[in-house]
Amino acid sequence: MRPADRALLLLAAGGCAFALCFADAARLRAAAGPDEAERTRLVGQLRLTDLALFTEARYTRHPSQADLHSAFQDHPLALEHFPTGSLIAPPASLARVGAGDTATSEEGGAK
Protein backbone atom coordinates (compact mmCIF):
# COMPACT_ATOMS: atom_id res chain seq x y z
CA MET A 1 0.00 0.00 0.00
CA ARG A 2 1.24 3.47 -0.87
CA PRO A 3 2.13 5.82 2.03
CA ALA A 4 -0.58 8.28 0.87
CA ASP A 5 -3.25 5.58 1.10
CA ARG A 6 -2.01 4.55 4.53
CA ALA A 7 -2.12 8.16 5.74
CA LEU A 8 -5.59 8.76 4.31
CA LEU A 9 -6.82 5.49 5.83
CA LEU A 10 -5.43 6.56 9.20
CA LEU A 11 -7.18 9.94 8.93
CA ALA A 12 -10.41 8.21 7.90
CA ALA A 13 -10.11 5.93 10.95
CA GLY A 14 -9.56 9.03 13.10
CA GLY A 15 -12.62 10.63 11.52
CA CYS A 16 -14.68 7.50 12.27
CA ALA A 17 -13.47 7.49 15.90
CA PHE A 18 -14.43 11.19 16.12
CA ALA A 19 -17.93 10.41 14.80
CA LEU A 20 -18.14 7.42 17.16
CA CYS A 21 -17.61 9.80 20.11
CA PHE A 22 -20.89 11.52 19.21
CA ALA A 23 -22.66 8.16 18.76
CA ASP A 24 -21.27 6.91 22.09
CA ALA A 25 -22.37 10.15 23.79
CA ALA A 26 -25.92 9.60 22.49
CA ARG A 27 -25.84 5.98 23.71
CA LEU A 28 -24.62 6.99 27.20
CA ARG A 29 -27.22 9.78 27.35
CA ALA A 30 -29.99 7.30 26.54
CA ALA A 31 -28.64 4.85 29.15
CA ALA A 32 -28.44 7.61 31.78
CA GLY A 33 -32.07 8.66 31.17
CA PRO A 34 -33.65 6.79 34.13
CA ASP A 35 -30.93 8.01 36.56
CA GLU A 36 -31.38 11.56 35.39
CA ALA A 37 -35.16 11.26 35.75
CA GLU A 38 -34.59 10.03 39.31
CA ARG A 39 -32.41 13.06 40.13
CA THR A 40 -34.91 15.47 38.59
CA ARG A 41 -37.79 13.78 40.43
CA LEU A 42 -35.98 14.12 43.76
CA VAL A 43 -35.15 17.80 43.10
CA GLY A 44 -38.84 18.44 42.38
CA GLN A 45 -40.09 16.39 45.30
CA LEU A 46 -37.73 17.86 47.92
CA ARG A 47 -37.71 21.38 46.37
CA LEU A 48 -33.91 21.25 46.19
CA THR A 49 -31.98 24.25 44.90
CA ASP A 50 -28.34 23.15 44.77
CA LEU A 51 -25.96 20.34 43.91
CA ALA A 52 -24.39 18.55 46.88
CA LEU A 53 -20.83 19.21 45.67
CA PHE A 54 -19.19 21.13 48.54
CA THR A 55 -20.55 20.47 52.01
CA GLU A 56 -18.06 22.36 54.16
CA ALA A 57 -20.08 25.54 54.75
CA ARG A 58 -23.58 26.83 54.11
CA TYR A 59 -22.46 29.18 51.36
CA THR A 60 -20.59 26.41 49.54
CA ARG A 61 -23.30 23.74 50.07
CA HIS A 62 -26.00 26.11 48.79
CA PRO A 63 -24.17 28.78 46.77
CA SER A 64 -27.40 29.93 45.15
CA GLN A 65 -29.05 30.55 48.55
CA ALA A 66 -26.10 32.08 50.41
CA ASP A 67 -25.92 35.59 51.85
CA LEU A 68 -24.54 38.03 49.33
CA HIS A 69 -21.59 38.84 51.57
CA SER A 70 -21.05 35.28 52.82
CA ALA A 71 -17.37 35.33 51.83
CA PHE A 72 -16.90 37.77 54.73
CA GLN A 73 -19.19 35.89 57.07
CA ASP A 74 -17.00 36.14 60.18
CA HIS A 75 -16.19 39.83 60.00
CA PRO A 76 -16.06 42.39 57.20
CA LEU A 77 -12.36 41.90 56.48
CA ALA A 78 -12.33 38.10 56.96
CA LEU A 79 -10.57 36.24 54.20
CA GLU A 80 -12.20 33.30 52.49
CA HIS A 81 -10.83 30.17 54.16
CA PHE A 82 -12.32 27.21 52.27
CA PRO A 83 -10.67 25.77 49.17
CA THR A 84 -14.00 26.08 47.38
CA GLY A 85 -13.38 29.81 47.36
CA SER A 86 -10.88 29.24 44.60
CA LEU A 87 -13.47 27.29 42.62
CA ILE A 88 -16.45 29.63 42.99
CA ALA A 89 -16.26 33.07 41.42
CA PRO A 90 -16.63 36.12 43.67
CA PRO A 91 -19.95 38.00 43.34
CA ALA A 92 -20.01 40.17 40.22
CA SER A 93 -20.88 43.17 42.38
CA LEU A 94 -17.45 43.02 44.06
CA ALA A 95 -15.81 43.85 40.75
CA ARG A 96 -17.80 47.07 40.64
CA VAL A 97 -17.00 48.25 44.17
CA GLY A 98 -14.34 50.58 42.79
CA ALA A 99 -17.02 52.33 40.74
CA GLY A 100 -18.90 53.15 43.94
CA ASP A 101 -21.44 50.35 43.51
CA THR A 102 -21.94 47.79 46.26
CA ALA A 103 -23.90 44.57 46.64
CA THR A 104 -27.52 44.94 47.63
CA SER A 105 -30.03 42.34 48.62
CA GLU A 106 -32.17 43.21 45.58
CA GLU A 107 -29.54 41.78 43.26
CA GLY A 108 -30.86 38.26 43.68
CA GLY A 109 -29.03 35.03 44.24
CA ALA A 110 -26.68 34.78 41.27
CA LYS A 111 -23.14 34.96 42.60
Partner: protein, 378 residues
Protein backbone atom coordinates in the same frame (compact mmCIF):
# COMPACT_ATOMS: atom_id res chain seq x y z
CA UNK B 1 -11.25 14.42 -11.11
CA UNK B 2 -9.39 11.12 -11.26
CA UNK B 3 -6.29 12.96 -12.41
CA UNK B 4 -6.65 15.50 -9.59
CA UNK B 5 -6.98 12.71 -7.00
CA UNK B 6 -3.94 10.89 -8.40
CA UNK B 7 -1.96 14.13 -8.20
CA UNK B 8 -2.97 14.71 -4.56
CA UNK B 9 -1.92 11.16 -3.70
CA UNK B 10 1.50 11.73 -5.24
CA UNK B 11 1.78 15.01 -3.34
CA UNK B 12 0.88 13.25 -0.07
CA UNK B 13 3.44 10.52 -0.85
CA UNK B 14 6.08 13.16 -1.33
CA UNK B 15 4.98 15.09 1.81
CA UNK B 16 5.19 11.95 3.94
CA UNK B 17 8.65 11.15 2.59
CA UNK B 18 9.71 14.73 3.35
CA UNK B 19 8.28 14.51 6.89
CA UNK B 20 10.04 11.17 7.43
CA UNK B 21 13.40 12.81 6.67
CA UNK B 22 12.91 14.92 9.86
CA UNK B 23 11.16 12.15 11.75
CA UNK B 24 12.09 12.98 15.37
CA UNK B 25 11.27 16.67 15.02
CA UNK B 26 7.91 16.05 13.37
CA UNK B 27 6.89 13.22 15.71
CA UNK B 28 7.77 15.42 18.69
CA UNK B 29 5.65 18.22 17.30
CA UNK B 30 2.74 15.84 16.65
CA UNK B 31 2.94 14.48 20.22
CA UNK B 32 2.95 17.96 21.81
CA UNK B 33 0.19 19.12 19.47
CA UNK B 34 -1.98 16.07 20.32
CA UNK B 35 -1.38 16.58 24.06
CA UNK B 36 -2.47 20.19 23.82
CA UNK B 37 -5.69 19.33 21.97
CA UNK B 38 -6.27 16.55 24.53
CA UNK B 39 -5.95 18.95 27.48
CA UNK B 40 -8.12 21.67 25.96
CA UNK B 41 -10.77 19.16 24.85
CA UNK B 42 -10.82 17.44 28.26
CA UNK B 43 -11.46 20.73 30.06
CA UNK B 44 -14.17 21.90 27.66
CA UNK B 45 -15.92 18.51 27.46
CA UNK B 46 -15.91 18.08 31.24
CA UNK B 47 -17.13 21.54 32.19
CA UNK B 48 -19.77 21.56 29.48
CA UNK B 49 -21.14 18.20 30.67
CA UNK B 50 -21.13 19.40 34.30
CA UNK B 51 -22.87 22.66 33.34
CA UNK B 52 -25.51 20.74 31.37
CA UNK B 53 -26.03 18.30 34.24
CA UNK B 54 -26.61 21.14 36.72
CA UNK B 55 -28.95 22.95 34.33
CA UNK B 56 -31.06 19.85 33.64
CA UNK B 57 -31.28 18.65 37.23
CA UNK B 58 -31.98 22.08 38.73
CA UNK B 59 -34.63 22.86 36.10
CA UNK B 60 -37.01 21.08 38.49
CA UNK B 61 -36.10 23.30 41.47
CA UNK B 62 -38.70 25.78 42.84
CA UNK B 63 -39.50 28.77 40.61
CA UNK B 64 -38.93 31.22 43.46
CA UNK B 65 -37.43 30.79 46.92
CA UNK B 66 -38.22 33.56 49.37
CA UNK B 67 -35.79 34.19 52.18
CA UNK B 68 -36.24 36.71 54.95
CA UNK B 69 -33.26 38.91 55.69
CA UNK B 70 -32.43 40.41 59.08
CA UNK B 71 -29.35 42.64 59.33
CA UNK B 72 -28.21 41.27 55.98
CA UNK B 73 -28.43 37.66 57.13
CA UNK B 74 -30.88 34.91 56.27
CA UNK B 75 -33.45 34.60 59.06
CA UNK B 76 -36.46 32.38 59.84
CA UNK B 77 -39.84 33.05 58.24
CA UNK B 78 -42.19 34.09 61.08
CA UNK B 79 -45.88 33.13 61.30
CA UNK B 80 -48.11 35.43 59.23
CA UNK B 81 -45.45 36.00 56.55
CA UNK B 82 -46.91 33.41 54.18
CA UNK B 83 -50.38 35.00 54.39
CA UNK B 84 -48.89 38.29 53.18
CA UNK B 85 -47.25 36.54 50.23
CA UNK B 86 -50.50 34.75 49.42
CA UNK B 87 -52.14 38.11 48.73
CA UNK B 88 -49.73 38.80 45.84
CA UNK B 89 -51.38 38.12 42.46
CA UNK B 90 -49.75 35.43 40.38
CA UNK B 91 -48.62 33.25 43.29
CA UNK B 92 -50.18 29.86 42.63
CA UNK B 93 -48.78 27.77 45.45
CA UNK B 94 -46.41 28.22 48.37
CA UNK B 95 -44.80 25.90 50.81
CA UNK B 96 -42.68 26.62 53.85
CA UNK B 97 -39.41 24.66 53.66
CA UNK B 98 -37.72 23.33 56.76
CA UNK B 99 -34.01 22.60 56.41
CA UNK B 100 -30.75 23.31 58.18
CA UNK B 101 -27.16 22.22 58.62
CA UNK B 102 -25.69 19.83 61.14
CA UNK B 103 -21.97 19.33 61.74
CA UNK B 104 -21.10 15.73 62.52
CA UNK B 105 -17.89 15.56 64.54
CA UNK B 106 -17.50 11.84 63.70
CA UNK B 107 -17.06 12.33 59.95
CA UNK B 108 -16.05 16.01 60.27
CA UNK B 109 -18.66 16.82 57.67
CA UNK B 110 -21.80 18.92 57.40
CA UNK B 111 -25.12 17.27 56.67
CA UNK B 112 -28.23 18.96 55.35
CA UNK B 113 -31.25 18.07 57.49
CA UNK B 114 -34.51 18.53 55.65
CA UNK B 115 -38.24 17.90 55.95
CA UNK B 116 -39.65 16.69 52.64
CA UNK B 117 -42.94 18.24 51.55
CA UNK B 118 -44.16 14.84 50.35
CA UNK B 119 -43.30 11.38 51.65
CA UNK B 120 -41.71 12.42 54.94
CA UNK B 121 -40.50 9.50 57.10
CA UNK B 122 -42.38 8.55 60.25
CA UNK B 123 -41.41 10.10 63.60
CA UNK B 124 -38.12 8.66 64.86
CA UNK B 125 -37.04 7.58 61.38
CA UNK B 126 -34.75 9.18 58.83
CA UNK B 127 -33.88 8.69 55.17
CA UNK B 128 -30.20 9.35 54.40
CA UNK B 129 -28.21 10.31 51.31
CA UNK B 130 -25.81 7.77 49.73
CA UNK B 131 -22.59 9.61 50.75
CA UNK B 132 -23.75 9.66 54.37
CA UNK B 133 -24.60 5.97 54.16
CA UNK B 134 -21.01 5.31 53.01
CA UNK B 135 -19.20 7.59 55.43
CA UNK B 136 -21.11 6.42 58.54
CA UNK B 137 -21.39 2.78 57.37
CA UNK B 138 -25.16 2.87 57.64
CA UNK B 139 -27.75 0.46 56.29
CA UNK B 140 -31.52 0.22 56.36
CA UNK B 141 -32.95 -0.27 59.89
CA UNK B 142 -29.68 0.79 61.57
CA UNK B 143 -29.88 3.25 64.42
CA UNK B 144 -27.86 6.48 64.51
CA UNK B 145 -27.59 9.23 67.10
CA UNK B 146 -26.94 12.92 66.58
CA UNK B 147 -26.27 15.40 69.39
CA UNK B 148 -28.44 18.45 68.79
CA UNK B 149 -27.26 22.05 69.28
CA UNK B 150 -29.04 22.04 72.66
CA UNK B 151 -26.77 19.15 73.75
CA UNK B 152 -29.50 16.50 73.75
CA UNK B 153 -28.87 13.17 72.03
CA UNK B 154 -31.47 12.16 69.43
CA UNK B 155 -31.61 8.61 68.06
CA UNK B 156 -33.13 7.78 64.69
CA UNK B 157 -33.72 4.60 62.71
CA UNK B 158 -32.59 4.66 59.06
CA UNK B 159 -35.83 3.85 57.23
CA UNK B 160 -34.29 4.08 53.77
CA UNK B 161 -31.28 5.27 51.75
CA UNK B 162 -31.81 7.64 48.82
CA UNK B 163 -30.98 6.09 45.44
CA UNK B 164 -27.36 6.12 44.29
CA UNK B 165 -28.45 7.75 41.02
CA UNK B 166 -29.52 10.90 42.89
CA UNK B 167 -26.20 11.34 44.73
CA UNK B 168 -25.25 14.52 42.89
CA UNK B 169 -28.11 16.33 44.63
CA UNK B 170 -28.65 14.19 47.72
CA UNK B 171 -25.20 13.06 48.96
CA UNK B 172 -25.45 14.70 52.40
CA UNK B 173 -29.22 14.77 52.94
CA UNK B 174 -30.94 13.57 56.09
CA UNK B 175 -34.71 13.58 55.64
CA UNK B 176 -36.91 13.53 58.73
CA UNK B 177 -40.41 14.35 59.92
CA UNK B 178 -41.39 17.92 60.78
CA UNK B 179 -41.90 16.95 64.40
CA UNK B 180 -38.36 15.51 64.68
CA UNK B 181 -36.83 18.48 62.85
CA UNK B 182 -38.45 21.07 65.11
CA UNK B 183 -37.48 19.09 68.23
CA UNK B 184 -33.88 18.57 67.04
CA UNK B 185 -33.17 22.21 66.16
CA UNK B 186 -35.53 23.75 68.77
CA UNK B 187 -37.33 25.41 65.88
CA UNK B 188 -40.12 27.68 67.07
CA UNK B 189 -43.61 26.53 66.04
CA UNK B 190 -44.99 28.17 62.87
CA UNK B 191 -41.52 29.28 61.69
CA UNK B 192 -39.94 28.06 58.46
CA UNK B 193 -36.45 28.26 56.95
CA UNK B 194 -37.69 29.76 53.69
CA UNK B 195 -40.62 29.56 51.30
CA UNK B 196 -40.86 27.83 47.91
CA UNK B 197 -43.25 29.56 45.51
CA UNK B 198 -44.91 28.33 42.33
CA UNK B 199 -46.03 31.05 39.93
CA UNK B 200 -49.13 30.50 37.75
CA UNK B 201 -47.62 32.03 34.61
CA UNK B 202 -43.91 31.36 34.03
CA UNK B 203 -43.64 34.67 32.14
CA UNK B 204 -44.70 36.47 35.32
CA UNK B 205 -42.00 35.12 37.65
CA UNK B 206 -39.91 38.30 37.56
CA UNK B 207 -42.98 40.51 38.10
CA UNK B 208 -44.04 38.42 41.09
CA UNK B 209 -40.51 38.80 42.52
CA UNK B 210 -40.69 42.59 42.08
CA UNK B 211 -44.13 42.71 43.77
CA UNK B 212 -42.76 40.53 46.57
CA UNK B 213 -39.80 42.80 47.18
CA UNK B 214 -42.14 45.81 47.24
CA UNK B 215 -44.69 44.22 49.61
CA UNK B 216 -42.10 42.63 51.89
CA UNK B 217 -38.95 44.78 51.91
CA UNK B 218 -37.10 42.28 54.12
CA UNK B 219 -37.72 39.43 51.65
CA UNK B 220 -35.08 38.23 49.23
CA UNK B 221 -36.62 36.37 46.32
CA UNK B 222 -34.24 33.97 44.55
CA UNK B 223 -35.47 32.96 41.11
CA UNK B 224 -34.78 29.61 39.47
CA UNK B 225 -33.06 31.48 36.64
CA UNK B 226 -30.63 32.95 39.17
CA UNK B 227 -29.91 29.50 40.62
CA UNK B 228 -29.13 28.20 37.11
CA UNK B 229 -26.98 31.26 36.39
CA UNK B 230 -25.08 30.72 39.64
CA UNK B 231 -24.13 27.20 38.56
CA UNK B 232 -23.30 28.25 35.02
CA UNK B 233 -20.96 30.91 36.41
CA UNK B 234 -19.33 28.47 38.87
CA UNK B 235 -18.40 26.08 36.08
CA UNK B 236 -17.41 28.90 33.71
CA UNK B 237 -15.11 30.24 36.40
CA UNK B 238 -13.61 26.83 37.02
CA UNK B 239 -13.06 26.22 33.31
CA UNK B 240 -11.43 29.65 33.17
CA UNK B 241 -9.06 28.78 36.02
CA UNK B 242 -7.91 25.58 34.31
CA UNK B 243 -7.55 27.31 30.95
CA UNK B 244 -5.57 30.10 32.63
CA UNK B 245 -3.24 27.46 34.10
CA UNK B 246 -2.96 25.85 30.68
CA UNK B 247 -2.31 29.17 28.94
CA UNK B 248 1.44 28.87 29.56
CA UNK B 249 1.42 25.49 27.78
CA UNK B 250 -0.71 26.92 24.96
CA UNK B 251 1.68 29.85 24.53
CA UNK B 252 4.71 27.54 24.56
CA UNK B 253 3.10 25.39 21.88
CA UNK B 254 2.20 28.49 19.89
CA UNK B 255 5.83 29.57 19.85
CA UNK B 256 7.01 26.06 18.95
CA UNK B 257 4.48 25.67 16.16
CA UNK B 258 5.08 29.14 14.79
CA UNK B 259 8.82 28.63 14.82
CA UNK B 260 8.43 25.24 13.11
CA UNK B 261 5.84 26.42 10.63
CA UNK B 262 7.00 29.90 9.72
CA UNK B 263 10.78 29.59 9.75
CA UNK B 264 12.16 27.40 6.98
CA UNK B 265 15.37 25.53 7.61
CA UNK B 266 18.17 25.75 5.03
CA UNK B 267 17.45 22.12 4.15
CA UNK B 268 13.77 22.88 3.46
CA UNK B 269 14.72 25.93 1.36
CA UNK B 270 17.12 23.83 -0.69
CA UNK B 271 14.41 21.20 -1.16
CA UNK B 272 12.00 23.83 -2.53
CA UNK B 273 14.71 25.19 -4.80
CA UNK B 274 15.39 21.73 -6.23
CA UNK B 275 11.67 21.04 -6.72
CA UNK B 276 11.29 24.33 -8.60
CA UNK B 277 14.40 23.61 -10.67
CA UNK B 278 13.08 20.23 -11.78
CA UNK B 279 9.83 21.74 -12.93
CA UNK B 280 7.44 21.93 -9.95
CA UNK B 281 5.12 24.92 -10.08
CA UNK B 282 4.68 27.34 -7.16
CA UNK B 283 1.13 25.99 -6.73
CA UNK B 284 2.40 22.42 -6.39
CA UNK B 285 4.93 23.39 -3.71
CA UNK B 286 2.22 25.24 -1.77
CA UNK B 287 -0.17 22.27 -2.12
CA UNK B 288 2.53 19.91 -0.85
CA UNK B 289 3.12 22.08 2.24
CA UNK B 290 -0.61 22.52 2.74
CA UNK B 291 -0.93 18.72 2.92
CA UNK B 292 1.91 18.69 5.46
CA UNK B 293 0.13 21.20 7.71
CA UNK B 294 -3.22 19.49 7.31
CA UNK B 295 -1.91 15.97 7.98
CA UNK B 296 -0.15 17.03 11.18
CA UNK B 297 -2.88 19.29 12.56
CA UNK B 298 -5.81 17.02 11.62
CA UNK B 299 -4.10 13.93 13.07
CA UNK B 300 -3.36 15.85 16.29
CA UNK B 301 -6.93 17.17 16.52
CA UNK B 302 -8.62 13.81 15.92
CA UNK B 303 -6.29 11.87 18.23
CA UNK B 304 -6.43 14.56 20.94
CA UNK B 305 -10.21 14.89 20.86
CA UNK B 306 -10.94 11.15 20.87
CA UNK B 307 -8.45 10.59 23.72
CA UNK B 308 -10.08 13.45 25.66
CA UNK B 309 -13.56 11.98 25.14
CA UNK B 310 -12.46 8.57 26.41
CA UNK B 311 -10.60 10.21 29.34
CA UNK B 312 -13.57 12.33 30.44
CA UNK B 313 -16.50 9.97 29.92
CA UNK B 314 -14.95 6.53 30.33
CA UNK B 315 -12.17 7.27 32.85
CA UNK B 316 -14.06 9.96 34.82
CA UNK B 317 -11.55 12.68 33.82
CA UNK B 318 -9.10 11.25 36.33
CA UNK B 319 -6.29 13.65 35.32
CA UNK B 320 -8.21 16.90 35.86
CA UNK B 321 -10.85 15.70 38.30
CA UNK B 322 -9.41 17.33 41.46
CA UNK B 323 -9.35 20.78 39.86
CA UNK B 324 -12.55 20.56 37.89
CA UNK B 325 -14.77 18.86 40.46
CA UNK B 326 -13.43 20.37 43.65
CA UNK B 327 -13.58 18.30 46.82
CA UNK B 328 -15.45 17.90 50.09
CA UNK B 329 -15.50 15.40 52.94
CA UNK B 330 -18.80 14.01 51.65
CA UNK B 331 -18.14 14.24 47.96
CA UNK B 332 -20.83 12.71 45.77
CA UNK B 333 -19.89 9.89 43.39
CA UNK B 334 -21.34 10.55 40.00
CA UNK B 335 -20.72 9.66 36.39
CA UNK B 336 -21.19 12.54 33.99
CA UNK B 337 -23.58 12.12 31.09
CA UNK B 338 -21.78 13.15 27.87
CA UNK B 339 -23.05 16.29 26.22
CA UNK B 340 -20.86 17.50 23.38
CA UNK B 341 -21.40 21.06 22.26
CA UNK B 342 -20.95 21.24 18.47
CA UNK B 343 -20.03 24.93 18.59
CA UNK B 344 -17.36 24.24 21.21
CA UNK B 345 -15.86 21.45 19.08
CA UNK B 346 -15.94 23.68 15.99
CA UNK B 347 -14.21 26.48 17.93
CA UNK B 348 -11.57 24.08 19.18
CA UNK B 349 -11.05 22.79 15.64
CA UNK B 350 -10.79 26.30 14.25
CA UNK B 351 -8.27 27.47 16.83
CA UNK B 352 -6.07 24.37 16.72
CA UNK B 353 -6.11 23.20 13.09
CA UNK B 354 -6.54 26.37 11.02
CA UNK B 355 -3.73 28.54 12.51
CA UNK B 356 -1.15 25.79 12.04
CA UNK B 357 -2.22 24.94 8.48
CA UNK B 358 -2.14 28.67 7.64
CA UNK B 359 1.20 29.34 9.36
CA UNK B 360 2.84 26.67 7.21
CA UNK B 361 1.79 28.32 3.96
CA UNK B 362 3.15 31.89 4.28
CA UNK B 363 6.91 31.16 4.37
CA UNK B 364 6.52 28.44 1.75
CA UNK B 365 4.79 30.85 -0.58
CA UNK B 366 7.62 33.37 -0.02
CA UNK B 367 10.28 30.74 -0.77
CA UNK B 368 8.35 29.25 -3.68
CA UNK B 369 8.04 32.53 -5.60
CA UNK B 370 11.79 33.22 -5.33
CA UNK B 371 14.21 32.23 -8.07
CA UNK B 372 15.23 28.54 -7.61
CA UNK B 373 18.89 29.32 -8.05
CA UNK B 374 19.00 31.91 -5.26
CA UNK B 375 16.90 29.67 -2.96
CA UNK B 376 19.29 26.72 -3.48
CA UNK B 377 22.31 28.92 -2.84
CA UNK B 378 20.61 30.21 0.36
Amino acid sequence: MKLWLAKQRYLIDFTLASLARRKTRNLGLLAVYTLLVFMLSSVTLYTHALRQEAARVLAASPEVIVQRMVAGRHDLIPPGYMERIGRIRGVQKMEGRLWGYYYDAVTKANYTFMVPAEGAPAAGEIIVGPALERSRGLAKNNGISFRSYSGKLHTFIVADVLPQASELVSADLVLMSEQNFRAFFDYPAGHYTDIALAVANPQEVRNVAIKLAAALPDARPILRDEVLRTYASIFDWREGIVLALLSAAILAFGILAWEKASGLSAEEKREIGILKAIGWETGDVIKMKFWEGLLISLTAFLAGFVAAYVHVFHFAASLFEPVLKGWAVLYPRFQLTPHIDGVQVATLFFFTVVPYAAAVLVPIWKAAITDPDSVMRG
